[in-house]
Symmetry: C2
Subunit: 82 residues, 2 copies
């Protein structure tokens, strides 16, 4: 099964990379863009039959993929994919 994980910087933390992308989009003529936040994205493939996949993915995020001090994570589990 596959987990799709999005890591985002918490709303009250500055995101200079997002600001740079925002300016680049404005320079390209996309004036309707009000804000951009940049994050990370992971697709993690788990062996079929893994016990408690939600808890395992949450632990991976806490221990390695995200920095819980300044980042939050969200994920969806796709049981069918393999």
């Amino acid at each position: 099964m596959r987990a799709k994980i999005a890591i985002t910087i918490k709303p009250d933390v500055l995101d200079p990379q997002g600001k740079a992308v925002l300016h680049a989009l404005h320079d390209l003529g996309f004036s309707a863009v009000a804000d951009v936040r940049v994050g990370k994205y992971f697709e993690v493939e788990l062996e079929a039959g893994t016990a408690e996949p939600e808890a395992a993915i949450a632990q991976m995020c806490e221990k390695l993929l995200a920095n819980p001090v300044v980042e939050s994570y969200h994920f969806t589990l796709d049981e069918g994919a393999r």
Copy 2:
């Protein structure tokens, strides 16, 4: 309205960063992980009432956010968020 954009490396393109994360997860004891792919994630806030938001976001991905040669993009539009 807010677009959540995930950029992923195409399946036939090597992802050494994903392999590094895979090994790190194994070292941490997450032996059930079979594969990891690393991508990028953007949240783009559009002004309310933007015309054809899907087309605008697709253009942003093609022109700036993704490299269409080796990456694909997927996005969802969240009409309510603001």
